[in-house]
Amino acid sequence: MSQDTPRWRRAIARLVDASVKERLVISVAALVLAVAVGFVIVTLAGLAASCTTHPTIFGVRTPSCYDPFAVYSELFLGAIGHPEQVLFGTGTWTPLDFRVASLLRSTTLLVFTGLAVAVSFRAGMFNIGVQGQLLLGALAAALATVYAAPLVPGGVVGTLVLVPVGIVAGALAGGVWGAIPGALKAYADANEVITTIMLNFVAANLAYVAVSTWFTPADSSLVQTATIPAAARIPNVPFGFQPRDNFSLLGLLFAVALVVGVAYLLARTSFGYDLRTSGSQPEAAAYGGVKEKRTMVTSMGISGALGGISGAMLVLMVQGRWLSNLPQLGFDGITVSILAGNNPLGVGFAALLFGVLKSGSAAIGFGTNVPPALVDVLRGLIILFVAMPEFFRLLGGRLGVGGDVDA
């Protein structure tokens, strides 16, 4: 970059060219900065609020109503149920605490949607339709297990059959739904951002109509499918959280396996090479003999399948049925993927951070007098600060800033 390129362009170029190690440092620094800014905001908001008891920090009674130390202690330690209590002997905490389960449950589900978005991003496309793929994947998993249940015995054998059946059904449904915008882009030049957004609505309403017309049990007042058989639930092994926590370590292991699998697919296979080359330089991909249309459809299919698997896991591990108001994990997946720099291994950590923030926010609500709106501000700050550098990297890469210094 020569001297007369604008400052912002040079700054972004430096971000684009940052190494993995630099990016990690940037992320951690951003997290620290977000906490620092949050500290100030909490203190200032506390000054503006009125209260009867003021917190005491380091023996000094503060004029502010809120205690930022307590807030961040709840956000990060409360998220897993205050394990430091064990150290100080002030409480009984076990790794099987329900808050740990809740944190890991969010993490597990977000890994799938994060991976789904990351795969599409690496292929140079933006799959905003993960939510739709999730909804249809969830429906397929619920229906497949409900209707397959009478054909298989119960117990362990049933689980060994039904869980894979549910996951495969979810992956297929999501995969087909994801491949549609891929094919539309490849063969009709339709922008996948637009088509995936639109297909979200189509999926949501299609599923709703289908379930309300055919699959809602007669005795149900809500639009939902029948509950899946107990054998189809992800078993709570190798060791148990409380059944009511709706979390299984097996689910987390499956998520980790997929993280490794997707990382392997991208980095080590010919298909991954094609996918990444198309994503970073389509002209070079065409030159290198990559079948671009086929790669587009397949990448979006894989992305959709991962979205569908998240839906299947939501049903098999958490909800136990398809409901019309399933959580919006598909959209969180976009943030998770950007936080992770679209790196599959990073998705694991980003999902964990997301899970901590989710679980920690709830803990702040219980443990402090800070209003929920302010908690959302703190959570948003962290995501914003950590995601921004990656976001600008992405944007800069698309604008063609950085990398080549040629005229």
């Binding site: 007369d4 296979t269 010919s270 090479y273 079948k291 040629d406 005229a407």
Partner: protein
């Protein structure tokens, strides 16, 4: 009177001197052509004049006053307007709205755009310069030629006295080109000054009063078109470089490897970029294609290498009709290709050399086990190419973007030559490459030929094609003008052919 005077302009980018002590003098009321090949520095120079770039050295004078433009806004204020190659128009708005955009006449104390006044102003301009443009038509509905005129109107509306047109004919049909030149005549008759950038010397001769030729960022000639000829301009543009006389003996050609039969490539606007081209390249010979850039070479090569399906004709490679086959099939059948554009095509800039070394071979058995890439053998391969072709730095983990142009080119050449191909298609192999690497690449090319490989060499450097080729075709506007013997043909005759004339016609 001198309208524009650029003197001693030098503009450097990291690793490249885009303009090197360039001088340009344009008389008021004339059409001035800025002629040169792609990458000669024409657009950079005009961006300096238009205030988009600040020159590292040199001065810009307008009407005899020295000026320093910080931005296009300053240039516009000084009466300079630029019409870019890609139009900057809002398709959904009318012609009149586009013309006044940013400088709208207002009414109601500036609250409302005065559409009537805008229309009247545009009508007025059209009358004055004899433009046949409907101000109320939507830009999306009018032809490319009219859109270009809207761009010109926009510049005139902002008070431009000097108009810079960047490759104005690139997007036009021949009829529209004639119309444009008529418009330029009317503009100069009204006292406007025109500078147009082009690499087509016919146009420069036809439409301009004076021409300045740039090559490799330097001014190599400034002369009135009345005093020059096509061949002189062609020679100036292409240039003669230090003679690297390496061609000793001719190759010993064998069987036909590549047979191109009546190939035609039509672009989106219905213009034939390649028209009915036929050629045969035999094993053990270098078949050269000479011509000024932009005469269909790129499209021809894309059709041969499988990046584009031709509109008519056939390509037969090693006895197999590959006209409709995929790019991957071409690679697997043994066709290597050193592309013209190493930044866009030849290399994945963000990837390291290990990954770049298997671009095109990512599914070849040599580098894969099943569907898995064997990165260890890919690394060995990249290191081999780096060693054999003297790529620096000697680091397979370096990203392609971090290499200099010459080293990037050596790496691509190495990767392609090491495929053990039956045919190598090489396009501008030494463009932007230093003398040492140039010599090296040319030697390798001849070695490959001597080993019995067929070579199709496309270059706009006269010396390169004449000294390396065993047979030589000259391409002009998508057609083969003639096939000549590179050992006996004179530079004059080649210059004429490249300019679209047969020597005997003179």
């Amino acid at each position: 009177m001198t309208s524009i005077s650029l003197s001693g302009i030098t503009k450097r980018f990291p690793g490249v001197v885009a303009n090197d002590d360039v001088t340009l003098t344009v008389e008021e009321g004339t059409v001035h052509a800025l002629l040169g090949e792609n990458g000669a520095g024409k657009t950079t120079l005009m961006n300096v004049l238009y205030g988009l770039y600040e020159p590292d050295e040199g001065t810009v004078s307008v009407d005899g006053t020295e000026r320093a433009f910080d931005s296009p806004r300053d240039a516009i204020d000084a009466g300079i307007g630029m019409i870019h190659q890609h139009f900057m128009l809002v398709d959904s708005m009318t012609v009149a709205e586009n013309v006044v955009l940013g400088n709208e006449p207002r009414k109601w104390r500036g609250l409302r755009v005065d559409r009537e006044a805008a229309r009247a102003a545009v009508d007025d301009l059209c009358d004055r310069y004899g433009f046949d443009v409907d101000p109320t038509a939507r830009v999306a509905d009018v032809s490319v030629g009219v859109q270009q005129r809207v761009e010109i109107l926009k510049a005139l509306y902002r008070g431009a006295d000097v108009l810079i047109l960047d490759e104005p004919t690139a997007v036009l049909t021949p009829q529209e080109v004639d119309d444009l030149f008529e418009v330029l005549g009317e503009l100069t008759a009204e006292g406007k000054t025109i500078i147009f950038i082009t690499h087509k010397l016919g146009e420069a001769l036809h439409a301009a009063d004076d021409v300045t030729v740039l090559r490799d960022g330097k001014t190599v000639g400034a002369l009135p078109t009345a005093d020059t000829t096509r061949e002189e301009l062609a020679e100036l543009m292409v240039g003669r470089e230090v003679l690297l006389d390496i061609d000793a003996d001719a190759g010993a050609p064998g069987d036909t490897v590549l047979d191109v039969d009546s190939l035609t490539v039509t672009d989106g606007d219905g213009i034939d970029r390649v028209a009915d081209v036929s050629m045969r390249v035999r094993a053990g010979e270098v078949y050269g294609i000479a011509g000024v850039d932009g005469n269909g070479q790129a499209e021809l090569v894309e059709a041969i290498t499988g990046l584009r399906v031709p509109d008519a004709g056939a390509v037969t490679f090693d006895g197999e009709d590959v006209t409709q086959r995929s790019r991957r099939h071409h690679i697997e059948a043994g066709m290597a290709y050193v592309p013209e554009d190493r930044h866009e095509r030849g290399l994945v800039m963000d990837s390291d050399l290990v990954a770049n070394g298997i671009l095109g071979s990512q599914r070849a058995p040599a580098f894969t086990t099943g569907s898995r890439i064997d990165w260890q053998s890919a690394r060995t391969h990249a290191t081999d190419v780096i060693d054999t072709y003297d790529v620096r730095p000697r680091d397979a983990d370096a990203t392609a973007a971090s290499l200099s142009g010459g080293n990037q080119q050596k790496f691509i050449v190495g990767r392609e030559f090491e495929r053990d191909p039956d045919l190598v298609v090489v396009m501008h192999p030494t463009r932007g490459v230093d003398i040492g690497s140039t010599e090296f690449i040319r030697e390798r090319l001849l070695e490959l030929r001597d080993e019995g490989t067929a070579v199709l060499l496309v270059s706009s450097k006269l010396d390169e094609v004449t000294s390396l080729s065993d047979r030589l075709a000259v391409l002009y506007e998508g057609r083969v003008m003639d096939e000549v013997d590179p050992d006996t043909v004179t530079e004059e005759a080649l210059g004429l052919l490249m300019a679209g004339q047969h020597p005997e016609e003179q």
